[in-house]
């Protein structure tokens, strides 16, 4: 699933680098609070361990072998933040030192496997193992499923990243410029290998290692709780979850271009003059549109011109890039507004406390 250079367009790579950077930053902040100086050796050695485990041939039922990423074990032992950093570092060394996986696609690979993989694995494990005894069999099954689901979630994201390429990036003659297969081909092709071999390899190694640790080194399964004693309260956790949702929504923004026509009720005044737009309005509304644009709409539409007209900055002719930039810009504006508002609303109280 290591995406090499050349499969994804530069704008896709840039977007996924931006998303991965947000994930790295959040994970780094959190783990620094928890571990302080211990963080550097722990993440380093764990990343080295992940790298070596990725080289293991995992025997599978049926006689084949596969390779695992070890993302579920990392998430269970280190917690999601530690796993994000350790797996990312292992992937970076694979790309930078061994040329395995691209440099421009490193953000994409880290986002898919390290960030989404760790979060999905951790959530699945916690959900299934909730309340189970330390040595219960349920934890082994939870680890297996966590690995399986995480690898398939990562593969699905990679497939979506591949699948949006031909739609968004093609030459005038229709030649796909990067990964050539549409979503309808990319998703089944990627998922077939991961639902069977790669997912199974991850499930086998996760279950086997958790079972081993239950018998031989139970302390490591409590490790996360040990780190968590220094962890912040639930509020940043909720904020982190929110970030994941925002990040996923941002990455999915180019899907909006795949829908044809204008969303119902989002017509512009000029749409009422064009015959094809009128036909679309009529079909969507099951009624004929008025002969001219409603006077209120015509008057108000001149009042405000958005900085990014129709979601694409004027200087960017590529609609996909425009869409993504608009998403990033939009989230940025919201963040700045939120921070400003919070500062404004917090200030008097802080002053009150000081005096």
């Amino acid at each position: 699933m290591h995406i090499p250079d050349g499969y994804l367009s530069p704008s896709t790579c840039a977007t996924l680098y931006a998303l991965a950077t947000a994930g790295w930053y959040a994970a780094l902040r959190r783990i620094q609070r928890m571990l302080q100086a211990r963080m550097i050796p722990l993440i380093s050695v764990f990343a080295a361990f992940s790298f070596v485990v990725m080289m293991f041939n995992v025997p599978l039922p049926g006689g084949t072998t596969g390779h695992a990423v070890g993302v579920a074990v990392a998430a269970i032992v280190l917690g999601p933040s530690g796993a994000i950093l350790a797996i990312s570092i292992a992937l970076a060394i694979q790309a930078l030192f061994f040329g395995d996986g691209g440099i421009t696609t490193l953000g994409a690979n880290c986002f898919n496997m390290a960030i989404v993989g760790s979060l999905v694995a951790y959530a699945t494990y916690r959900f299934i193992a909730a309340g189970a005894d330390e040595k219960s069999r349920r934890r082994v099954w939870a680890a297996a499923l966590a690995g399986y689901v995480a690898i398939n979630a990562s593969a699905f994201l990679a497939a979506v990243e591949f699948g949006i390429q031909p739609r968004l990036f093609h030459s005038a003659s229709g030649t796909p410029l990067y990964a050539p297969y549409p979503l309808s081909v990319a998703i089944p092709a990627m998922m077939l290998g991961h639902l069977t071999i790669a997912g199974l390899a991850e499930a086998v190694i996760s279950a086997g290692m958790i079972s081993y640790l239950q018998h031989a080194d139970i302390g490591l399964l409590r490790g996360r709780e040990t780190f968590a004693t220094l962890s912040p309260t639930a509020a940043p956790r909720a904020a982190q979850r929110l970030w994941v949702v925002v990040a996923l929504l941002m990455v999915l923004t180019p899907l909006g271009i795949l829908a044809t026509g204008t969303a119902w009720g989002e017509w512009s005044a000029s749409d009422f003059q064009q015959s094809d737009a009128r036909a679309q309005i009529a079909a969507a509304s099951h009624a004929d549109p008025p002969a001219a644009a409603p006077s209120g709409l015509a008057r108000l539409s001149a009042l405000w011109t958005a900085p990014f007209p129709a979601y694409a900055p004027a200087f960017i002719h590529n609609p996909a890039l425009g869409y993504l930039l608009s998403a990033v810009f939009g989230v940025g504006v919201l963040m700045v507004s939120y921070i400003l508002l919070r500062r404004l609303t917090n200030r008097p109280r802080v002053r009150g406390e000081l005096t």
């Binding site: 100086a37 080295a48 080289m55 041939n57 995992v58 570092i89 796909p176 086998v204 081993y212």
Partner: protein, 266 residues
């Protein structure tokens, strides 16, 4: 059974030998080796970006030729590149690209009615792109010792903590490969029969589990050792080196070539 252990052992051996070959090539006196590591990182990255941004097969092929010339000037043999990059990328991406010949919508291709010309173009575009980008990044890896690469990344403003973690991870990868190698070898030396599939799985997971326990212990030892040297969580790096006129010229040339490739290939 032993095939399983052997193939994992072979992977370990290959990783070690690849690292050794890179180290040897990096010390040769060649064009890329003579440049500042920052210039190598920036120049090769600019060329990779040009490969991604260019839309014409000929331009990307020209960049591949430039990469091959850079390899020769840096005393990297084309045979090594073929074995390590070209054949591997061709095998992997070639298989992925084959169905595109037939299922990409477009005008049929003369005699081969089931193929389309857009399919052929997109398959060749994908393969040349992947080959060229992989050649350029492999050149960077082959001609730059790991510590120089990290120093360059630090000077290019990657946070010091990240660079330290990358350096430490790289160091312990070799230690842990050695450790896993010994575990597999000692298991194999004690084996006379054939292991069942379930037993093979247990053995692999157990080895991984022991390696994990060892890794965590190692990290604690490393932490104590760092503390004994006065480590308090802050990382300091040595001051940067100075770039020569030769370095600036090389960087300018690379950026010019990349820009020209993007401009002509747009």
């Amino acid at each position: 059974m032993s095939r399983l252990i052997e193939s994992t052992l072979r992977r370990f051996a290959r990783a070690l030998s690849d690292a050794l070959i890179s180290e040897q090539i990096a010390t040769r006196r060649g064009l890329l080796q003579s440049l500042d590591a920052r210039v190598r990182v920036l120049a090769l990255f600019a060329l990779v970006l040009a490969v991604l941004l260019s839309r014409r097969i000929l331009i990307i092929a020209a960049l591949l030729a430039v990469a091959a010339l850079l390899a020769l000037a840096s005393r990297v043999s084309l045979g090594l590149l073929a074995k390590r990059v070209w054949l591997v990328a061709l095998g992997f991406t070639g298989i992925i690209a084959i169905p595109a010949l037939f299922i990409t919508p477009g005008p049929p291709l003369g005699k081969f009615a089931s193929m389309t010309s857009t399919g052929l173009r997109s398959a060749i575009l994908l393969i040349t792109r992947v080959e060229t980008a992989a050649t350029l990044t492999t050149l960077l890896v082959l001609t730059t010792p790991w510590n120089y690469l990290l120093k360059a990344l630090r000077e290019l403003k990657l946070p010091a903590e990240v660079v330290t973690v990358l350096a430490m991870t790289h160091r312990y990868i070799f230690l842990l490969i050695e450790s896993a190698n010994q575990m597999f070898e000692s298991r194999q030396s004690r084996m006379v029969g054939v292991l069942s599939s379930a037993e093979q799985r247990r053995m692999t997971a157990r080895t991984a589990g022991v390696l994990l326990s060892k890794s965590i212990e190692l990290s604690q030892d490393v932490y104590l050792a760092m503390q004994s040297r006065g480590f308090r969580g802050e990382v300091h790096a040595l001051a940067g080196s100075r770039m020569t006129a030769h370095d600036f010229a090389a960087l300018a040339l690379a950026i010019l070539a990349a820009t020209a490739a993007v401009w002509i290939g747009r």
